[in-house]
């Protein structure tokens, strides 16, 4: 995918989000650190353009909520910038690549510390399969079947497939 393809996919997803939720005023767009940062900012911008309402995005770092802290080296932690109670809001979680689903599991646990959202929806730029948990995305930029040992890089500049460990 080129950056134009990514741009079109994000625009389509923004329209889908508005269509699904009717109003955007109760939406909270939350990007997952660090891959979801730029995508969440762009998505919030597109939602503002479509709806005419000013939308901001926040960031969520799930390092401390991961279930693989003991198995993998510690992830470098980044900061969380959620500044409002999420109770009764509809949260749109934004990430670059959906893979095993474990990051999303950690994010769902983390979100509960900011209140009880009315609903949580998941928006990803790339769904590469290989889920290990019963999690599915609501909005997908591109379904990209991959093998386990491939690495995916998905940014606003485009999407690339490489061999794991060399990217």
């Amino acid at each position: 995918m080129t950056s134009d393809d990514v741009g079109r996919a994000l625009t389509r997803m923004a329209h889908e989000i508005v269509e699904r939720n009717h109003s955007v005023t109760s939406l909270s767009v939350i990007g997952l650190q660090t891959g979801g940062n730029d995508i969440a900012v762009r998505l919030a911008h597109l939602l503002s353009e479509i709806s005419g309402e000013l939308m901001a995005s926040a960031l969520l770092d799930v390092s401390f909520y991961r279930d693989d802290l003991t198995r993998n080296p510690l992830p470098a932690s980044a900061s969380t910038t959620i500044d409002h109670d999420l109770t009764d809001r509809t949260v749109v979680l934004v990430d670059d690549v959906l893979f095993t689903g474990r990051t999303i599991r950690a994010a769902l646990n983390a979100l509960s510390d900011w209140g009880r959202p009315r609903a949580v929806q998941l928006c990803v730029l790339v769904d590469r399969g290989h889920r290990e948990l019963p999690i599915r995305p609501d909005f997908v930029g591109k379904n990209l079947p991959t093998s386990q040992d491939e690495a995916i890089v998905a940014t606003l500049d485009g999407v690339w497939i490489g061999v794991r460990g060399t990217s």
């Binding site: 401390f64 802290l69 993998n72 080296p73 510690l74 969380t80 646990n109 900011w114």
Partner: protein, 328 residues
């Protein structure tokens, strides 16, 4: 040099590299945010057991370590030494063995003997040992929170953030450490941290309260206290440690205050932007005047607040971390 404390003990700051110290400071920044949430708890150390073993009195260190452990969802075993079998004469080794038999992942130890933390780390090599102050030797988390506090205040003033500034704010920073350097483990850890981070460190004290080997330390000795006050960007006061016999090293407390106490009159020699620090507990009227404690330049309360995120960072890195490598 040790480049990370991930999966390791934290016994002393002498061997820690600049990268290792920076990693703790940066990790603590993320925990500052956790401490601002309405639910101040993350599950990072869920199911881990951390023993808090204080063979010496403590208010700040103990409370902030235990708060830190709980905010990481760890279980805390807290031994009240005064009402334990230590009073029946049980040795340090047997006490540690008993607690280890209950199944622990880490121990925070404070002890009157220098080297106690190192000794315990040899008794229980599978347990992470965090030094909460050992005799005259080291108090690593105090120095880390002191460095964190300095970086936080200076970053705020220059309109940047601690994370962005890295260690740059310490380059050439003029830090004056005043008072009972001889008996102070805080001074030893602070000096190690500040020197590693690139600061210019001086000490000022009555000659009797300087250690005999001061010329081997990475510091210079201030000839004139009053001149040094005007020189300093940060003035770090130390407590006069009566329980370690400081009283016999000065003619009287009043004499110490006269020569090296930060009285209100003397505080006027400081430049307005100079920070005043003290690790606590304070001897008001001895090393610092009450009115100086309550002045805006004094960041003692911030130091206490920062104790929690720093100790969360230390527990997180040592207990959840592994030796295998560092994720990027």
């Amino acid at each position: 040099m040790i480049d990370t404390i991930r999966g390791d003990n934290l016994l002393s700051l002498d061997e820690l590299s600049r990268a290792a110290i920076l990693e703790v400071l940066d990790t603590a920044e993320t925990f500052v945010e956790v401490n601002r949430r309405s639910i101040k708890k993350v599950p990072a150390l869920k199911g881990r057991v951390i023993a808090s073993l204080f063979f010496e009195e403590s208010t700040r260190t103990r409370l902030s370590f235990e708060t830190a452990a709980k905010r990481l969802s760890a279980d805390v075993l807290s031994l009240a030494v005064a009402s334990s079998s230590v009073k029946k004469g049980e040795s340090l080794r047997d006490t540690i063995a008993t607690i280890d038999a209950l199944g622990i992942d880490a121990v925070v130890l404070r002890h009157r003997s220098s080297g106690a933390a190192l000794q315990v780390s040899r008794y229980v090599p599978h347990v992470r040992v965090i030094n909460g102050g050992d005799g005259l030797h080291q108090h690593p988390t105090q120095a880390l929170l002191d460095a964190f506090t300095i970086r936080q205040v200076l970053a705020e003033r220059s309109g940047t953030s601690g994370l962005e500034s890295g260690t740059s704010l310490f380059a050439g920073l003029r830090i004056l450490i005043v008072g009972d350097v001889r008996h102070s483990r805080v001074a030893r850890s602070d000096i190690a941290a500040y020197a590693t981070l690139g600061a210019d460190v001086r000490v000022a004290a009555p000659g009797t309260l300087l250690p005999d080997d001061i010329d081997t330390w990475p510091v210079s000795v201030a000839a004139d206290f009053d001149e040094a006050l005007a020189w300093a960007d940060v003035v770090a006061l130390l407590r006069l440690q009566s329980e370690r016999g400081s009283g016999t090293f000065v003619p009287s407390l009043a004499e110490f205050t006269f020569t090296h106490g930060l009285t209100e009159e003397r505080s006027r020699k400081l430049r307005p932007e100079t920070l005043i620090m003290h690790p606590g507990p304070l001897n008001r009227g001895v090393e610092i005047d009450s009115r100086v404690v309550d002045s805006a330049a004094c960041v003692v309360e911030r130091q206490v607040s920062n104790g929690v995120p720093i100790r969360m960072a230390v527990l997180y890195l040592t207990v959840a971390g592994t030796h295998e490598g560092i994720a990027t």
